[in-house]
Amino acid sequence: MEHNDREYTDMLNEELKEVKPGAGLHSKVRDGIARNAVHMHRRNTALGAVAIAIVLTMGLSAVTPVFGRNGTLPQVITAMAAERQAKKMSKTLGTAPVQQTGTALQTSVTTVQAVSDSALSETDGILALVIAERSGKSVTEVLKLRTDGLGWGIIMAQLNVSGRDIGKAMSQVKKAVAVTKGQGASSEPAVSNKDGNKIVVSGEITGVSTTLITVAGKTFVIGSETQLKYHGEAITPAEITAKLPAGKLYATVQGTKQADTSLGASLIIVQDTLEGKTGTGGRADKPQQRTGNPRQRAAGTWQGHSRDGHRAAHRRVRP
């Protein structure tokens, strides 16, 4: 039997005619709306209070050292950024990061040793050196502020060092170390040589005594402040002498020209091999002088590319 739409409509309307809202439903709806309005009011009040509290805290912390010896909020943020950079630098440098940073910043070996020997972490050590270099203060002064319990943010603010300054210094260190290790394409020398007295030489060790070492034809004086490293560890001239009969040894020497024209070594990194590119593509065991950069020319002798002992230990030994 066929049915048309009219029949279905009538049937449904007839059967559903009793389906209608109860009398109390309207008041329930109204109560629900009223409850919701109260709830929303309370929620908005609470959110507003939280927002005001946050704004007040931020405002207050920007001008008051609410973080105690760590300083104000901006100082804490600056310190965190600086520490992050120092940590990254420490990872990048790998072995003896404080020493490498000190060398790159031309800090005296004694000072670097003092930082290394202090209870500071490597990150803090790097920061201390960098802040001292940027502020023109001595590392001892910076260390004293730190050991007094001040945060890096407050120290930086007191010494007028900005986060940007830290970034620049880190960049300088990175470049210098990269060139020293021969990892960078930068034409900057490993050691800045504004006064023309700095010298960096890489090449074969052809002679060594307790007070002198000859690398790539250049003889350097080994003084009490000279650091000697082999595979990241300290080594004595006598040990180098003992190793030489077993095969060739190479070294990268950072030093300065003395008043009497002799060359004083500040850092000697002894390695088993000498790898890397040279400025003019010459022999690796022959010192190469780069001619493109006046500062390098001023340095006298320049051997571009070498690896420190630690890295060289993991590489194939050249026959």
Binding site: M11, E18, P21, L25, G32
Partner: protein, 168 residues
């Protein structure tokens, strides 16, 4: 009715509290019936009606009197009803006798037919025949394609005819 509704919506939009009550009285009966065909229990329907009017109240300042507020209201309500149905019936299963135990308002042959339809098919049936809603509006309210709605309608009609003709 339409003119009256439009005037009321305009007043609601303007923030007149009493107008919202008038809007309620103008729309609640149709909404109640629509929801009843879907949920089939008075308690569930009342819960959903409250929720739907609360949501409508929250957006009352954004209501547009040029658009169909009843369709919008029923869309909100159907979505609320679907959520409620999913909560109370986590596993989708064919409608059983127990599912419509609260059908005290519907008697006889229609009740028997509705019992055997899925909630969505019941809803389409109620909207199309009970409320005289167009297929396009049903699609909008249910968020389904026209083919799906027509298929639901056809299935519901077939089932209703069987029940009316044969009593099963």
């Amino acid at each position: 009715m339409d003119d009256e509704l439009r005037t009321v919506v305009t007043r609601v939009h303007a923030g007149e509290e009493a107008a919202f009550d008038e809007l309620y009285h103008l729309t609640v009966r149709q909404l109640y019936r629509t929801l009843y065909t879907y949920l089939m229990t008075r308690e569930d329907v009342e819960d959903v009606v409250q929720e739907a009017y609360l949501k409508l109240y929250q957006v009352r300042r954004k209501l547009d009197d040029t658009r169909s507020v009843p369709v919008y209201l029923r869309t909100i309500a159907i979505n609320c009803a679907k959520r409620k149905f999913r909560r109370t019936h986590p596993v989708t299963a064919p409608a059983e006798e127990d599912d419509v135990s609260g059908t005290e308002l519907v008697k006889g042959v229609v009740r028997a037919a509705l019992q055997q339809l899925s909630p969505a098919d019941r809803l389409v049936m109620g909207l199309f025949y009970g409320d005289q809603t167009s297929i396009q509006d049903i699609c909008r309210m249910m968020g389904e394609k026209e083919g799906t709605v027509k298929s639901r309608l056809s299935r519901a009609r077939e089932r209703l005819r069987e029940v009316i003709d044969h009593g099963t």
